[in-house]
Symmetry: C2
C-alpha cells in the first residue's frame, strides 16, 4: 500500500495511491483512518513531505564503498564503524518531491547528493529484538541527504553542511510492502545513472539498528530513520536535476537552484 500526503484545492490530506489515482483518507496511517470517498489524479495534486518526523534519525556511515571512496578522496584509510550508532538530521531542512534544493551563495562547488532508503516508524517501540524489530515499521520512503562537503569537513557539527534549509528532500510517498533484498538504489543526474547500489547491502541492517536504538530510546509513530548511502556523488550545480529511484518505492526528484537574495 502507498501512503501519500498531498494538497488539492488548497486542502492537505493523506491518501492511498493506487496506480495514478489517489483515494483520499480521513485520519492518519499511524492511527485510525478511513477512506473519505473523494479521489484525485496523481498528476493534479501537489505532493507534500510525507511527514515532519518527531525525531529525525540518520544512520550516517552504513555502506562500505561510500566509506572507502570518501576516505580515498582524503588520502586516508577508511574507518569502518564497528557499532550501530545512530545520528540525527534537522526537520527545518526537509522539502518534498519536486521542490527545489537551494544552494547557498557561499557554498563551494562540492555539493553532493546521497540517495537513501528511509524507514518510517508506525508504532511506539522500545526494547525490540532483531527478530521483531521490523514490527514497528509502517513503511519506506526515499531521502536525499544533500551535503556540502567543505563545510562537512571544516565545521564542528553538520548544522549547515547537511541541515541547511532544503537540503533534505524526502518522498514521494510511503510504500508499506517492500522486498528489502530485491531493492536497488539508482541515482540519476540529469537523466543519467551516476550511482547505483543494492539498497540492503548495509553494514548494519535496519533490524539491527532498531534493536540497538530501542535499548535506550523509544521510537514513536512518525519518526524516520535514514539508512545511509553507498558510492559517491559528482559535484552538483544549479540547474541540475537529481532523481533517487529505489525499486518498489518510486523516484524522488529535485532540481538544484542557486540562492537568490
Amino acid at each position: 500500500m502507498r501512503w501519500i500526503k498531498f494538497t488539492a484545492a488548497g486542502s492537505t490530506s493523506w491518501g492511498i495511491l493506487e496506480g495514478e489515482q489517489i483515494i483520499e483518507t480521513r485520519g492518519e496511517p499511524f492511527a485510525k483512518w478511513e477512506r473519505a470517498g473523494r479521489s484525485h489524479k496523481l498528476a493534479d495534486v501537489k505532493i507534500e513531505i510525507p511527514l515532519i518526523p518527531r525525531t529525525f534519525y540518520c544512520a550516517g556511515l552504513n555502506y562500505v564503498r561510500h566509506l572507502k571512496e570518501a576516505a580515498d578522496k582524503r588520502g586516508e584509510v577508511p574507518r569502518v564503524p564497528t557499532r550501530a550508532e545512530i545520528g540525527y538530521r534537522a526537520q527545518n531542512a526537509l522539502i518534498a518531491h519536486d521542490e527545489n534544493v537551494v544552494i547557498p551563495r557561499d557554498a563551494t562547488e562540492q555539493v553532493h547528493y546521497e540517495g537513501e532508503l528511509v524507514v518510517v516508524i508506525g508504532k511506539t517501540a522500545k526494547h525490540l529484538t532483531e527478530d521483531n524489530a521490523l514490527s514497528c515499521v509502517l513503511g519506506y520512503t526515499i531521502g536525499n541527504d544533500v551535503s556540502e562537503r567543505t563545510w562537512q569537513r571544516e565545521d564542528r557539527t553538520f548544522w549547515r553542511s547537511k541541515n541547511t534549509d532544503t537540503f533534505k528532500p524526502m518522498g514521494p510517498w510511503i510504500e508499506t510492502d517492500v522486498d528489502l533484498d530485491a531493492m536497488h538504489t539508482n541515482v540519476r543526474l540529469n537523466g543519467e545513472v551516476r550511482t547505483s547500489f543494492r539498497t540492503n547491502d548495509m553494514l548494519f541492517s535496519i533490524a539491527h539498528f532498531i534493536s540497538t536504538m530501542t535499548r535506550y530510546l523509544t521510537l514513536y509513530p512518525g519518526d524516520v530513520i535514514w539508512m545511509g548511502t553507498d558510492g559517491s556523488s559528482p559535484n552538483i550545480k544549479a540547474g541540475d536535476v537529481v532523481e533517487v529511484e529505489i525499486t518498489g518505492i518510486g523516484t524522488l526528484r529535485n532540481r538544484f537552484v542557486a540562492e537568490q537574495l
Copy 2:
C-alpha cells in the same frame, strides 16, 4: 508572562501562570489565544513538557569554564570554539519538571547534569541580524542536558550519552520577560548548590547564535535552542534530586532513578 503547559482532570492545555494560579487559555502562545475562563491552582495540576520542538537545537560548548574543566579531566588543553556552530538533541529524550530521569542499567557512574538556559522560538525567522535576532524569541525556559560521560567519550555520536529516554528534562514553564544580564544559574544536588554561574556569560550570545543560524536555516515557532552549561557536575546516582534554578524563570527539578526491567 509565564506560559505553562499542564494537565488537570485528564485534559492538557496551555495556561498563564500568575503567582500560584493558572489561567487556562484556548489556542497556543505562538498563534492566536484567549483566556478560557477557567483557573487552577498550580499545586493541583501536573506540569507537562512546555512543547515538543520541531527542531531541537543545542549550542554545546558555549562557556569557557566548562570547556576548561572538561579538558583538565582529560589532561588536555581546552579547544575553545572559534565559531558559533549549532548542534542537536533528540525529542524522544524530553521529560517534564518533576518526572524521573532513568539511569540505564549499563550506564557507568559518570552520569552528569548540565543546567542550561533554553530559548523558545515564537516566530518564523530567517536572515536575522544580531540587532533584531531576539525579535523571534517567545521566551525562556530551563533544560538539564543529562550526559553519560563514558558513552560521550567513546561513542561516535551522542545517541545514548545525551539522548537516552528521560535524559532531557525541560521546564517548568516559559517566561517571556527576562533580564538576561541579571540571570544566574544555580544547580542544586539534594538541596545543596554545586554549580553556579552567570547565565549570560556565554562564549557566543543568543543573538549571535540566532543570527548565524538563520543565514542558512529557518527557525519555526516551537523550535528550542539549549544554550550550553558552565562548570562541571559531580557523579549523580539513583535517588539524587537535581534542581536547576535560573533567576527570573524558576526551578526545574528531577529525581534520578535506576532502570527497572
